[in-house]
Symmetry: C2
């Protein structure tokens, strides 16, 4: 199924979205002429020049299926990425996962300090909703409001933060596969799914017309997390740009501990095939979304 064309499509797509996201964050985060400068420098440190930008790529590629203006879709993509960036800052804090390395450089609280990390995370969190509520993202206020509701639900107690809470308690609990799946759907899946959903919302696709995209997003979300668990066991920390082998040392259950390496890899690939199947209706237009699905299980970071 996969050829050279597919590979270069994805490579170019990632390179382009990485440039675009960096450039938009640069424009959105001018450094103020007072002591807030440190805060905005912290936000820029976390938001610019790091990360694969999978979420913005998913959002922009979905929006493209429905002819949405790329600059507007990019703004919504940066809103999702701002949420992702804030969550990494807070998750890396000493009282959370206590990580020193992220995207191959010191974590924000190491490069700056913990207080700046807390506040820069909070400010990126607010920035996400400021971006979405601005009419430059969509001229239609109903669309703006739907984007915000979708991102809010995906990031709070019923989404990412809820999943992170379950993960923080995982060391003491003997989670089964059902619970691990639920945890990961919240912690990682909800925001990936929101990116796809938001692309469709910008394309004015009604909820009943988004079911296949939601199914695609759910499958790649799960595949993404299984791939992360495999990377944690088999990956190269230099390439990943962060500490690995953490799940094992913390005695946490993961897809890999529960299923074994071979079964987990098989399951991830099956999920990707299934995800790609949901895109059939879009034909060649969905080439990038298919490429992203494959990348998710084949990436080395």
């Amino acid at each position: 199924m996969r050829g050279e064309g597919d590979h270069s499509l994805l490579k170019d797509g990632l390179a382009r979205i990485q440039r675009e996201v960096d450039s938009l964050f640069d424009a959105l985060l001018p450094i103020p002429q007072d002591t807030r400068a440190r805060l905005v420098e912290g936000m820029r440190y976390a938001a610019i020049g790091g990360g694969k930008r999978v979420r913005p790529l998913l959002l922009v590629s979905t929006a493209e299926l429905f002819g949405v203006d790329r600059n507007r879709a990019l703004r919504a993509g940066c809103a999702v990425e701002a949420i992702h960036a804030y969550s990494l800052i807070h998750d890396d804090l000493p009282c959370m996962d206590d990580d020193d390395l992220r995207h191959g450089k010191p974590t924000l609280h190491k490069a700056f300090d913990e207080a700046t990390a807390v506040l820069a995370g909070d400010s990126l969190h607010a920035l996400a909703f400021e971006i979405l509520a601005d009419q430059e993202t969509s001229a239609d206020p109903f669309t703006r409001s739907e984007l915000i509701l979708t991102l809010g639900n995906a990031s709070g107690k019923d989404g990412m933060a809820g999943g992170q809470m379950m993960d923080m308690l995982a060391e003491g609990e003997d989670y089964d596969l059902h619970t691990i799946t639920r945890l990961q759907q919240l912690k990682t899946g909800a925001l990936l799914a929101a990116a796809v959903e938001m692309g469709a919302i910008m394309g004015h696709v009604q909820p009943e017309g988004r079911a296949h995209l939601r199914a695609y997003a759910r499958d790649i979300g799960l595949a993404f997390q299984i791939a992360d668990d495999l990377l944690d066991v088999e990956g190269d920390a230099d390439k990943a740009g962060k500490a690995l082998r953490k799940d094992e040392s913390q005695g946490k259950q993961t897809f890999v501990t529960l299923m074994g390496v071979d079964k987990a890899r098989e399951q991830a690939r099956a999920l990707v095939d299934q995800a790609i199947g949901h895109l059939a209706v879009h034909g060649e237009d969905a080439a990038m979304l298919r490429a992203v699905a494959r990348y998710i299980v084949e990436r080395d970071r």
Copy 2:
């Protein structure tokens, strides 16, 4: 100017809004049947049963001037209060102000733990925007979007979080009165002003028709902070329900250190008179907003 009627108006107004805010947070935060329970319990601990609820009272009282349905205004008031509550949780963290007591009970990270405090703060932050983006808050999507833009701006780098960053750096800097005013306008004033502004937005008042309300909000915001600085010097920690005399021990400049106690008190009162002057156009309808303005400098917590 001030009589018994004014006093009981405020007392009843505060008691009512406190009941209403507690009841709405209770409804918005059901405890889930999985390990996220701890997260939601943390959110409830911080959001229910504490705080003066000045911001919701300001929002609801402003909205009332324009005939807005009280239940809808209350939802927006709870969104502002959710932002306020999350900011207190994060400000109290050991890496920030390191406070053990808030609203007369242990701070969230003391009663639970730091990780839960970070995540409960983040989840209340997201909840604020989830509430505002819901059509139960306003049937008009443009209104919802404007509410979100106003609250987002007031809480991020150009508002509350920016002011908190300036405050964190205050120990090392020799801020003058101009800088302290700017810091406090961001840290405290922006959210109080947003509450008033959001009440007017719900009343479909155009930006040019909100100028006097913005002036009212700016004046009470500054008066509120001067009163806080006076409380820090002269207040009773038991009544305040939190540690006092912190500014002095940290060597921070405040309105009181820069102006002296007498001048500061005089200034706060003058600001309240000025704020009340801006409400003249509303006549008797603005009785509650006038009462709130007076309360702000006369409160003991």
